[in-house]
Symmetry: C2
DNA sequence: GTGAAAGCGCTAACAG
DNA sequence: CTGTTAGCGCTTTCAC
């Protein structure tokens, strides 16, 4: 009964005068242990300063108590809400989250997945549907519970929870068209390896086309995901003749950049130009002017995705993918106005 | 040599015609294995689809390949940059990050720390210096490499990397005083269990006091960390008589909310009122008006903290805490102007 | 340079 | 309800 630096289950057992198995049981099946012995064990745990070793537990081929999350980036607000919601739900159920970022590089994503699997995560959450073949193959081969967040897709290979980004694009385009705008510009991030942005952009352009409106290439700007970049890239938009009366941005951060760019040119939003985002990030409703956008409900998505994943983790058999659609909805606010 | 679902090291060994020990070695001490056998093993790995089991590795009492990160929240931009930088550096060195959030509840933080230790993280990163006694005790008792990010403190119990938040507060207060403002208001988050906010606020008030300025209580508003809340809480500020000519906010998000509140009241920033933040979050420089703030260099802090932690993890002996001060610097921008 | 064998800390049967 | 036993998958001496 030496005083090791880090007590193990045997030390605790000795201290409590029981066998290691009983200590183990009191953790994993407390109902199968007499209350009095459980008390004794608890005291022994406190005395020895014992902390369970999940690694030793995980090695039994069972629960590691972890889930993996792979996101493109943590560096901005996009995924913050989603991750927070997902994380909280997971924690509520006793899971710890391993988080990694691939910086929109799907080659990297595969490597990250591998490393998560090395840690024997019990489930994996990804963003969207653009993943490398290797990623999909590995997922299937290992038969890991997995869920894709943020984009609903009717025929997704894996379970998914999210809004229809295509619909989001159409909806916001409709909003602008309904307001009578015809001189329209768009500002989107790169759609490479990013199905969310691609779907949104496609939805916007498709709706506009159906409405008989085309957006000339010089009015389609591409910008990376930051207010600064969006503001810079958008500046040129307001020098064109004729000046666009509406700018549809791929997300709220870009929209905010566009608004700043307009204001810096002395233009008023929405009187001189209407601007829309997609996402309804926290802050968009409180900005001045508040930003018209499409609500995507990241909290809901994160929470549902976590539940779905937990179900899969605890479930016996792997059924077909579940797909849960979270409704998107245009939030009309101060940054848009009837045209001209 | 059956085709198990998930190959283990023995399957690989059989496939390669070597012993498990050699396979293990080729992972952990590749230089101790003949190149030719290593090749053979690699092929076997590919064929079997083997993925290392870190849990089994960690159980040897050695490397788990993980580090833990405990932050107050992921839900907003504050820590995004910091986390991203920290995470990237860790990943570069082969570590995977376990992330948890405590929602500014230090009781919870302790529990989270315990759960991270259950997973045998090799090191832990925390935010700031406000932690429960239990947390500090546990850290010391287990002798876990640990680093505190985001606030420099000369006499911290544990290693730390960050700017001096007290100085940040003083610096921004000086900026406002130098511009001739005397009717000053402040808008800060709760300083309970949050040493960063407390130090900043203290710095601001201390500097103002030294300059002979006091901020009456009704001009000290408390707001939670969001643009929406800040905007709401700040609204009353602009109804007071005399109206403050400057508002010092505890961070950039709150500053942005204050700016919107002012604009919504028809006030011009900075002509009617100057507003400052602290933090220089991404976006603050590109806002319109751009926000005068104090640069805290989250990327630098995150990266340095990671390096420090890695040093500790790899280092033989635990020396005294290292403390690295990252210089803070006022960024004077459009949201502030000489008074009256 | 490689293999055999003895655990790492814990859990899941199986007895009792 | 509790103890005994036999591993989980891997790493690390120690021989060879």
């Amino acid at each position: 009964m030496k005083n090791k630096l880090n007590a193990d289950i045997i030390d605790v057992a000795n201290h409590a005068g029981v066998s290691p198995a009983t200590v183990s049981r009191s953790f994993n099946h407390p109902d199968k242990v007499l209350l009095s012995t459980r008390k004794r064990i608890e005291r022994a745990i406190a005395q020895t300063g014992y902390i369970r070793n999940r690694a030793a537990q995980a090695i039994q081929g069972k629960r590691s108590g972890t889930v993996g999350l792979i996101v493109p980036t943590l560096d901005n607000a996009i995924f913050s809400n989603l991750i927070q919601a997902f994380s909280e739900e997971m924690r509520l159920h006793g899971f710890t989250m391993l988080v990694t970022t691939h910086g929109y590089d799907l080659k990297d994503e595969y490597l990250l997945l591998r490393s998560l699997l090395e840690h024997r995560v019990e489930g994996v959450a990804l963003i969207g549907h653009d993943h490398s073949d290797e990623t999909y193959t590995l997922l299937e081969r290992r038969n890991v519970p997995v869920v894709s967040m943020w984009n609903y897709k009717e025929d997704s290979k894996i379970s998914c929870v999210g809004g229809e980004n295509d619909q989001a694009g159409r909806a916001i385009a409709k909003h602008i068209v309904d307001l009578g705008h015809t001189e329209i510009a768009i500002a989107f991030p790169s759609v490479k390896e990013n199905d969310r942005a691609r779907d949104r952009k496609h939805g916007v352009l498709a709706y506009l086309a159906e409405a008989g409106l085309t957006v000339p290439v010089h009015r389609q700007i591409e910008t990376v995901y930051s207010i600064a970049n969006a503001r810079n890239s958008a500046a040129e938009l307001f020098e064109m003749q004729p000046r666009p009366t509406a700018v549809i941005a791929g997300n709220d951060v870009i929209a905010q950049g566009v608004i700043y760019a307009a204001q810096a040119k002395g233009l008023d939003v929405p009187n001189d130009v209407s601007v829309t985002g997609i996402g309804d990030f926290s802050g968009s409703a409180s900005a001045f002017p508040s930003v018209t956008t499409v609500r995507m409900r990241p909290n809901k998505v994160g929470k549902i995705a976590a539940s779905l994943l937990l179900e899969r983790i605890n479930g016996e058999d792997e059924t077909d993918p579940s797909r849960i659609k979270v409704a998107v909805e245009v939030k009309s606010r101060e940054s848009t106005k009837r045209c001209c």
